[in-house]
Symmetry: C2
Subunit: 197 residues, 2 copies
């Protein structure tokens, strides 16, 4: 769930639990979902298996919790007062976080497609949070009169985060600050402004 | 390598080899890269291990060949005579192929990030081929005078295929014919046309 300001609430795990989840993500990135065992997590984190199983009764639940914790967003960036600068700020933030997030997402992507619980975590903690941020940015621009309410596209709301994520997911050509500016200034902002006839 | 018309040449494998590669992709999608063994491929395809190892001396080479064969593009779509229709046609084609391709890409994505050979196959057979198609479409539009040569963006040439791929890679909201049309008509074509001042 998102708070009203679009940020996720603080982690509800204890420091020791966060350590276990962080070890899980580390092993997940190294070995993939199929190569991960709860025993290996317990052993790497010097915990008893019973401690781990008590909190997360299955590998699927452990990985879901670890995934959600790993991609948990920080506080929402403060409004800048302009659509263009809000979008640049969001794009830059995605690029800053993506290195770590994308390695985690890559590691779970096969499993996500066959594991409904994990898919739900991906949707809730990654997709929905970015959707909420984009909607806030666009809503503020509508309220300021920068763009018309009907300029906001239900179909393509995630073009900015989605394209940047694609560039991080496929290795070889990660997006830069330049990419974010080209996307915002040449593509997204013009597509939202009223068009001259 | 691409032919002059942007299509990949016909497969250079024999029917029996294509069968082995197709079995490899099948097992890859089921078990992921780490869960795949050359022995399992030989056994599932009723081939001797020696037959498989003779052609592909390592698992990495077998998977690279299988990946390249699985995402090998068909013939390039015929030019329609307009930028808009060429882009719609390409977008629709990506959507048609993506179901199968994305499952394969998901299965190798973790391995791609740590295996330079496999990464090279992904770049050559998937990324570069789409780049060539986009460049041809844009080049034809420049030649017809539909868009200015400097409207073509080095940074964002893969926005159409990249965003569609993102929507297929993250389960839950695959793009439709409607997505392709919104992306082409509301975002990409307007961003390439001369802007009224």
């Amino acid at each position: 769930m998102l708070d009203d300001d679009g940020t996720a609430p603080a982690s509800h795990w204890s420091p020791r639990e966060i350590e276990l989840l962080s070890t899980t993500v580390e092993l997940l990135r190294q070995n993939g979902y199929d190569g991960l065992t709860v025993d290996a997590v317990a052993s790497a984190a010097r915990a008893s298996k019973a401690t781990v199983y008590r909190r997360w009764p299955s590998k699927s639940e452990l990985v879901s919790a670890a995934f959600a914790e790993a991609v948990r967003p920080g506080p929402a960036p403060a409004p800048t007062g302009s659509l263009r600068d809000d979008l640049i700020q969001l794009g830059d933030l995605i690029c800053q976080n993506a290195g770590a997030h994308m390695a985690t997402i890559r590691a779970v992507l096969v499993e996500v497609s066959r594991n409904p619980g994990l898919n739900q975590e991906l949707q809730r903690h990654f997709v929905d949070q970015r959707r909420a941020l984009m909607h806030q940015i666009l809503q503020r621009a509508v309220e300021r009169g920068e763009i018309a309410a009907d300029a906001v596209h239900d179909e393509l709301w995630d073009l900015l985060p989605g394209y940047l994520a694609f560039r991080f997911l496929i290795p070889g050509d990660p997006p830069t600050a330049q990419t974010v500016r080209a996307l915002v200034d040449d593509i997204i902002v013009p597509s939202l402004l009223p068009r001259a006839q």
